[in-house]
Symmetry: C2
């Protein structure tokens, strides 16, 4: 039996376009003499459709598209994901479902049983849990079908939740010979390893191979990394689709696969995730060109490299906006970066408008010292310039704040936070340095060494350094990771890392205080287990921390 | 039997402060010789606690506070809301619960059965549904307890959901003599009537009186309006607590209440909701002073009136920022408004920095016509000025965009959208006019008539009027209300209102296109059934509408 795993990149809500992709994949599967075609979760509408699901027409149109697809399935067993109306009188009106099509007929549906409602997921908002598990016979094989989360409880991969049902055990009773899983599993740093860890026990329990089809592509903040896979009944990974692009994985169940290895480079995956996040944000909206403020610092350098890789150097404009506080080396470094990458850089000094605002406000600021106000004015003048170029020429501004800054509010709202997409706003500063070194090692060293080695500075007042206002980034990032991503308590962070309790407490307090800024930040690309952009819901006004 | 309904205003996460409020209410109840004390839903932590619930210490501390409260309950039957750990192995680790305390003892818990997971609610993210209903005997009465949503299914008040359980019917089997309901029911326009409509069938089914305790106060975007109530077994409203402030409602079940009427003024409620939204956003964060750009238009006029009512005229600074495109009457109107309200107004013309930016960008804009770019620069210059004053003196900027503008993106990101709180960003333009007329009728006419009667304009280019870019606000608001708030399809809106289908389609498309702007808008005060600030989750990148 030959399985064709169609790892496609759907656009949310693009029912026409996604159906076209499905039909093309079916044609390719026929050419490849496949027996079975497997698609990712919610194939027809793309994942996550969010509140588009409250439109009955949207759901109905998915069903109309299914009829079109059904017609094209002669000689095939096709499993495609969609939302279907719940025919029963239940709490929610919809199922997250897979249609099983065979030889032009609809054999039935398998509804997702476990509905993740934590982190970035809110499936209970829309869906009713599926009732039971189903196995379908085809060409002498008993094929079981599960959807994404259905397989995660068994392998111990769910968060904040302890489902009482285990669809893997439920379907085991029906003795499947093969298990197909439709998924939309978003990337986070170093998750790839974890998937093998979760799926292997499922294969072993079922005693049959698993084929897992993941969505690929970015939809808003979420990047789906692909890497669909084929695992044998012993939980051994035998085959993997490509990451970060559409791919057809063809698996011949009868053919023995010699042991191969699957190289895995977490920093490479991070790099490709960010590129895909940028590329799809632009292409799925019909934009081509990005504009980025280039400060000569490591944050903007990384974003410029990523934008060039995602969009092409001809589509990236960098803008140096020096002020009286900018060091000579900042400008030189920014220029050198542009030369290395072959991107255009224009220079617009900000001192005049900055001075103009200071004059304008002088009568009102009489007797007051310069403070963060003046720093913010500079950052906001730069924001106006970038946004003006964006408005006039149709660029999207990429903002360059990193996660450590976003955590502590070390950034200017409406200033450097301006932008359509916050490329690295889920990348901690320490990880960003690793990423820059990775880029320089594997991408022909575009980032001038000085950018990576000099002390970070916002350069908004004379001789300013980040370390004047913040503890070392190593400490910031440890607290950030443990508190925000791993939900450890202040006490436990103190015990585990030996960081003074008062300092942990202070950093946690600053994280909460900056919530109001993050609420107005540009959406970012999620690359961690818990991003500020999506999946973390905190009050602005609260008095706990 | 005397019931003391303690309609309190908790701050989310303020376990110390909220417990203090609870203890004080218990003391007042004792003084009032009450038998029973009823608090709102999740009293100890305030509603909604959001992801604070993922901290085990947070949940444990609530339990510690309960022990403190328990000690103070001699001679009383007290029902207080809190989150408790789920002792069973279930999907979610927590219950949204009520502790029943009596004479210093914990009689038991009632766990919320129906967990709203739609609109602004995401209770399935945190909670497990309660198993069963309980009735507690006290002083010869059988007292049933339900929590908020538990009572809404029976009366037909839930959205996007059709619970299979009905706690009202379940508890009816236990023959309660009195039903107590702990709630956190947020305001939306004209909801007060709807509550009576929902609760009356519950009282009739149970054949016993209902006492409903609602939270009061604002937490972020949500305003809880109070109006706790006592309804007899025939569904007749007999008593109501005050709206928009803390109140103790004392109900003597044995005493006959002569028929009274409950005056209801929807525009008055809207006015008080917005004021409470501002007041609590400031006071719960320790801020006092607001700054508002005063354009002489109806939006800023309304926000200034509301801010003065919420914070006091001495705490409001208005700033006129005229440009070459401002009409004479705009400045006069803004001045007159400030005089009428007795608030300070300063004037900072924006032409110079605007010109400075144009000069700076001239080399790059060569050969390009003036367009929306220049309009946005003006709006952003104003944003910088307001934010600079905010930074220097500790004002919170109140942004003045209305819901119709937010819907269509008729606003400048990082310009007039700057602000800590978007006071009217859930108020449609047509409703805003009604509100302004209400203010002038009932609040001694502070808004100059010319502000209300002149044609709306952003005044960002010569002789600009909103109607140049938008259809009439009557049409915009009809489509907005039906599409966003009532989830009607384009087809149905066309049929129901006779608005050309292409126009409806165009407006819907513009609503979706503006999603990226709204994602960076200041949080607003929710006053409609579906606000952009909270409760509406849409992708930025999508191709459905």
């Amino acid at each position: 039996m030959r399985i064709f795993t169609a790892q496609i990149n759907p656009t949310v809500g693009d029912l026409d376009g996604n159906t076209e992709k499905i039909l093309k994949a079916i044609r390719r599967a026929k050419k490849a003499k496949a027996d079975v075609v497997l698609f990712p979760e919610l194939t027809i509408c793309g994942y996550p459709p969010e509140d588009l699901l409250f439109s009955p027409l949207f759901v109905q149109t998915m069903h109309d598209k299914l009829l079109l697809i059904q017609k094209e399935t002669e000689g095939l067993f096709v499993v495609v994901g969609l939302v279907r109306k719940n025919p029963l009188e239940k709490e929610k009106a919809l199922y997250n479902s897979a249609a099983i099509l065979c030889d032009g007929k609809l054999l039935g549906y398998k509804d997702k049983t476990l509905l993740p409602t934590y982190d970035i997921f809110d499936e209970r908002r829309y869906f009713e849990p599926g009732e039971d598990q189903k196995v379908f016979e085809y060409k002498g094989k008993r094929i079981g079908i599960l959807i994404c989360e259905d397989m995660w409880q068994h392998g111990g991969g769910v968060l904040f939740t302890n489902y009482i049902r285990d669809p893997v055990l439920e379907i085991k009773d029906q003795n499947p010979d093969l298990l197909l899983n439709l998924s939309a599993s978003p990337y986070y740093f170093a998750k790839r390893d974890f998937r093998e860890y979760v799926f292997a026990p499922c294969a072993k329990t079922l005693g049959c191979p698993i084929i897992w089809c993941n969505q690929v592509g970015a939809n808003d903040s979420l990047v789906f990394d692909g890497f669909s896979l084929y695992m044998d009944k012993n939980g051994k990974l035998l085959q993997s689709a490509k990451g970060f692009e559409e791919d057809d994985m063809i698996t011949d169940l009868e053919k023995e696969i010699c042991s191969t290895s699957f190289p895995y480079d977490p920093l490479g995956d991070l790099y490709h995730t960010l590129i895909l996040g940028i590329r799809d944000y632009f292409s799925k909206q019909g934009f081509k060109k990005a504009i980025i403020g280039s400060s000569g610092g490591v944050d903007s350098a990384a974003v410029i490299c990523l934008a060039v890789a995602a969009l092409g150097k001809e589509n990236v404009l960098t803008v140096a906006m020096p002020s009286q506080y900018s060091s000579e080396s900042s400008i030189t470094d920014a220029k050198q970066l542009a030369v290395n990458l072959g991107v255009e850089m224009i220079t617009i000094p900000v001192d005049e408008p900055f001075q103009e605002f200071k004059n304008l406000l002088k009568p009102f600021f009489e007797g007051k010292k310069e403070d963060v106000t003046e720093e913010n004015i500079q950052a906001r003048v730069r924001g106006i310039i970038l946004m003006a170029l964006s408005n006039k020429f149709g660029y999207i501004v990429l903002s360059t704040g990193n996660k450590s800054e976003m955590a502590l509010g070390y950034s200017t709202l409406y200033g450097d936070m301006c932008g359509g997409l916050g490329v690295i706003n889920d990348v901690k500063k320490t990880l960003l340095y690793d990423l820059c070194r990775w880029i320089n090692e594997f991408r022909e060293g575009p980032i001038p060494e000085n950018i990576i080695t000099k002390a970070p500075s916002a350069e908004l007042r004379p001789d300013q350094k980040d370390l004047d206002s913040l503890p070392e980034y190593g400490i910031v990032d440890t607290v950030l990771e443990e508190y925000v991503e791993n939900c450890l308590s202040i006490e436990k962070i103190h015990e585990k890392h030996g960081i003074e309790k008062a300092l942990v407490q202070d950093l946690v307090h600053r994280i909460h205080l900056a919530e109001y800024k993050r609420r107005q930040a540009s959406p970012g690309i999620r690359v961690s287990k818990r991003s500020f952009s999506k999946g973390r819901i905190f009050p602005i006004v609260q008095r706990w921390n």
